[in-house]
Each structure stands twice: as C-alpha cells, then as structure tokens.
Point group: D2
Chain length 144, copies 4
C-alpha cells in the first residue's frame, strides 16, 4: 500500500515491515535527495518524509485503518551522507482517537540521524472523509 | 540557490522571495506529490519539505549563511488538494547560535493547510562543517 | 473553573477571557516563579503551565467539554523578567477528535517571551474517563 | 543547584542524579499538583516542569555550564495519578551550540506518563547573558 503512494514512489520510500504497532522502512540515498548541489547530504524533507511514512505505517498496523498525521516533530542529529536511511517506528500509545509514535532514523551503521515523534488520528471513517473529500482524482497512468 | 538544491528541484519547491528574515515559496501540486493512489492529496512530506525550505530561506536571509535545521514541528490543518501550496516564513527570533522561525502553508485561496515552527542553527563555519564534512561529492550532471 | 484547579491556583495562573475558541490569561510574576536563585527569570515550566492552561481554555471555550492536552511544543524567545506574563490562545482548527491551538506569551509590553502550539483532545466522555478514571480523590479542604 | 531554583523548590522537583549527559529527577505528587479540583491528576505543567528541569540537568552534566531551553515538545501518554513522577533524561546529541535531549516520565511502576524532547543552548557566556541580563534581583529571604 505505501509503495503505491505516488510521493513515496517518487522519493523511493519503502516500507519493509509493519506489524502490531511497529514498522520499518528505508530510502536508498541518491544525488537527487540532496540539499546541497555539490555534496550528497539528505535534505531534511527526505528524512521527514521517511519518518512520517514509517510512523504512519506503525499506527496503521495497530488500528488497521487510514491514520492522518496530526502533527510531527523531527530533530536532526547527524547529516545523512551515507548510502541509505533506515527508520524504525513504534507506537507509544494507541488511543481511540489519537496515537503517539516514536521514530528513529539511522544510517544503517548505528548512527542516529534523526528522531521524530508524532500524533496520528485513529478512529476511522469520519476522520478519513474529513481529510480527503473533495480531492481531485488522479489521472490513470495506464491508458492504452 | 534553493532551486539548485537537488531535492527541491526534484519536488518542485520554488523560493519566490527571501529578504530580511522573511521568505516565501511555493509548489505547484501534481499527482506525483500525492499520498493517495487515487485522489490527489499532498503527502505530509511535501508540505514539510516546503515549510522547512522556506523556513531556512527566512533564516538565511537574516544571517546570510547556511543554517541547518535543528528541529521542526509541523501541524496539519487541512488536506492539500488544490493546485498549489504557498508558504510564508518569518523569523521570530534570530540569536547568535539559534533562530526560531514560524511558517504558514496555505492553498493560495486563504485556507491554512499547515503551520510549522522550527529552530535553525546560526553562527556559521564550525556548524556548517560539522554538518557536511565527509559527505560524498555529487556527480557532475554536465559532462561533455 | 480554571482558578479552581489546584496547580493553577498554586502557580497563580488566571484565565481572564475564554470565548469562541479564543482565551487569555496571566501570571503576576514573583520570586517563587524564578529559575534562578539570585535574579528573577521565570522558570520555563511557569511559562509552559500558563501556555498549556490558556491553550486548553481556548479549546474548552469552543467545544464546551474537558479537553486533555495530547502534546505541546513551546519555543522560548526572551526571558521572562518582567512583572507579568500574559498569554493569548487561538484555535487554529477544531475537529471532532482533535483541536490545534496557537499560544503567544508576552511580557505585557509588546515583547514576545514564548510561542506554543499544541494538540488537544476533543470529543468528550470516553476520552475524559480514559484520562482520569482511577485517580485518587482530593481531600476536602473544608471539613468542619 | 537545581533544588535552589525557587520554582523547582515551590513545585517540589528534585534532581536525584546528573552525570555525563544523563540525569534523573522526581516529584512526590500532592493535591496541589492536580489539574482537577476533585481528583488528583497531575497538571500537564507539573509534568513539563519536571521534564524540562531534568532535561536541562542532563545537558548541564555534559557541558558544565548553564543551558537555557530553546524549545521542548511534550507528549502525554497516561494521566499522572500515582504518588510520584520520575523522569530520566539523556542527551541524544551535544553540539557546540545546541544539545538535543530525550526525557521519559514514568509513574515509578513502569508506566510511561509522558515523553519529551528538547533543544538546549550550549556554548556559554554570551548566551547566558542574553537570557538573564537586566533581570530583577531576588530579595534575600534570610535577613536577620
């Protein structure tokens, strides 16, 4: 499901695991992810997109429903200059209307690049429709 | 300068104004920015990337140096289902070592889609090198 | 109601206005609020307690129910060294399950001391009981 | 030093350990800490004041200097209805100008009540004076 999200596909975000309130994901870093025109340092938006997506996957794995992000804070600890960024997310609390999630982003060699913490909506239909009703349809890519 | 950042170019983030601690920017939304495979709702990572970049532009316009993001919080207020997302950022405080920035993201028709608040490093060289030393070089795109 | 909260009374937090998603409050600063043993600089916890309380008052004025804080971020902009701290809070979004609130804390002379942004639960009974069931009773102060 | 801070003394915050970037502290909860007039549920400002103070103690133990809080986010996970709140803080990053700190608040029986994450200034004198110059002197309590 996450790989079908157009922006995740565009950025190269993969969800590698999602079960029981825990999720993992990764990005293989390429030049296009950089914030610098000369050296490859992952843009903060890449790190955030990974954290937000993996955090959402953790909540979805717990409540089995779409869970929009309410808010998220990210703290940058070290520059993402490696080949990959990995993220692990765990639900700290899953309530009837809100879940709180912790995310840690590493470089795959033990260095923490960022931590994030977010609140996501749980509780289903009304919330879902509130966030997407009226949105334009995406054009089918597969036309003959 | 911001348009030369590979990830900003990839996402389509434009900085349209940056002066004296205030900055503005935009993204023209396309299907690839969506978090949904069927309808076009901007992925939270798109909104964040815009907010972080415009926030950084506001700080850079005040201190005239590279200013890494320390941390940022984003709150989502409404789904980004329009044609464009606009962001405006203002420095609330510019100190010798840290600046605090407020960002508001709208749909261009008066609806606030998100607000963000971040801390950015100011104070220059040592900080800069701490964040980028050892980063791999980006391959030149223009080779004869 | 807010003045009856024991901790607010202990700290000296007053709600001076709360209506239609907007609230205002104040603390008259005394030596006991200081984080320093020698000079009077308001402890960050005082500023936060004011922001959280006034933020909650804004949400309560909109939904007319108890609204526990889910999360809050506070940014300190200048030290609270004056005679008073004032706070104003406005709901940026009031949803069925969550509200987002902005708070600005000033010194009463136009200087912003801090800004805060928080998410509060709305939606009533189940939430309320989840947060307080099993709590110990407070001893009556007035016993004959 | 922390016990000499007037507000910490007023609230009853104790620092029980602070060394090498790690700190621990506690509050013995009393009726006066409550946000409710009838049952004893710790006010969010009490939890925050503990988290901010213990977080600051962790940074001070690493850099041996005064370290003002730049910003902090707190997430509430469960109501504080027990006899005590304990906090543990660890520095996730200590830089020349900024440190990032993680704090976990528990009820002393294994239940997490809140988590917090904050940025604190490091780097000393200029920062310190920027935050406290011009502050009023505290009246000596002990005059003969």
């Amino acid at each position: 499901m996450f790989e079908q999200m157009p922006f995740n596909r565009a950025v190269g975000i993969e969800i590698t695991h999602a079960d029981d309130g825990h999720a993992e994901g990764r990005i293989d870093l390429e030049d296009r992810h950089s914030s610098s025109p000369r050296t490859r340092v992952a843009h903060g938006g890449v790190t955030y997109a990974l954290a937000d997506t993996v955090g959402g996957a953790a909540v979805i794995s717990a409540v089995e429903d779409i869970t929009p992000t309410i808010d998220m804070r990210i703290d940058y600890l070290a520059p993402g200059t490696g080949e990959v960024m990995l993220a692990e997310a765990d639900c700290a609390r899953v309530g009837e209307s809100v879940a709180t999630v912790d995310v840690v982003v590493t470089d795959g060699e033990g260095t923490r690049l960022a931590t994030a913490r977010g609140s996501y909506k749980t509780g289903g239909d009304s919330t879902d429709s509130a966030w997407s009703e009226g949105a334009p349809r995406i054009r089918e890519e597969e036309s003959e």
